[in-house]
Amino acid sequence: MNPVMKFIHKTGSPAFFYRFSGLLVPWLWAAFILLAGWGLYQGLWVVPADYLQGDSFRIIYIHVPSAWMSLLIYFVMAVLGIIGLVWHIRVAEILSICSAPIGAAFTAVALITGSLWGRPTWGTYWVWDARLTSELVLLFLYLGVMGLYAAIDEPRKAHRSAALLAAVGLVNLPIIHYSVDWWNTLHQGSTVSLLGGSKMHPSMLIPLLVMAVAAKFFYGANLLTRARNHLLAQDFRKRWARDALLKGERQP
């Protein structure tokens, strides 16, 4: 068996996954802190104010990466859910459901920062533009998955139901996005967007891309931490859980 398949096989074992991810987490946090630190420093101090929007455009450095992450995480959540559903892989199921709150958090940040950015730019706290409205529906989709999971007592059933709902949501996502876009142009005539017409100079763009990458490391670190908890909580009666926790791990 080639080494990649062997590795993937091993991650199926809870104990192995727990140990392996535990080793990875600190590095992911370190990468996040370095990248986000640099990106925020650039975005908040170094990059000059926008000609049209002034300083409020700096919100872009958290709004746009959050919006990107909210979509990416939904995709990953749904795909992992399908993998877990079809191939009965427990780790996939767990990674899927643990992604949901993280995705919801990013969506909430995108909505709030979008709203706060809209205020100085358009004068109102909420604009029913295509992006924000899409994000709102995405938040509802996330909350639906989390709500369904929470409403079912039996763990296996809960995982599988949530995974199916996430998959259904994934199929719907492009349709929803497209229909909201259409709805927005229909009711407003011109395309209203927070980014407006300003083209992004590389000095403005690079911190944005760096923040986007940093966000992925955040997701990875947070996801693995939550997944390890989830695994422990489900297996708390098992010997591996006792050994893993009480043998004293080096990582917090």
Binding site: A15, D55, P120, A233, R237
Partner: protein, 52 residues
């Protein structure tokens, strides 16, 4: 920095820090609860499940 926009920038970054901070820290609190649960369960010499 333009003072007029400062409250919005602060509010936005503050919300970001709060939400993502909660997102990052919540698992740590949950973990201590799980730790207590595991300690409690295994303390009284409970039979471990046959599966490791």
């Amino acid at each position: 920095m333009s003072h007029a926009h400062l409250p919005f920038i602060l509010a936005a970054y503050g919300a970001f820090a709060l939400i993502m901070g909660w997102c990052a820290l919540a698992p740590l609190f949950r973990r201590s609860r799980i730790r207590r649960q595991i300690e409690h369960y295994h303390q009284y010499g409970n039979h471990h499940d046959s599966q490791p």
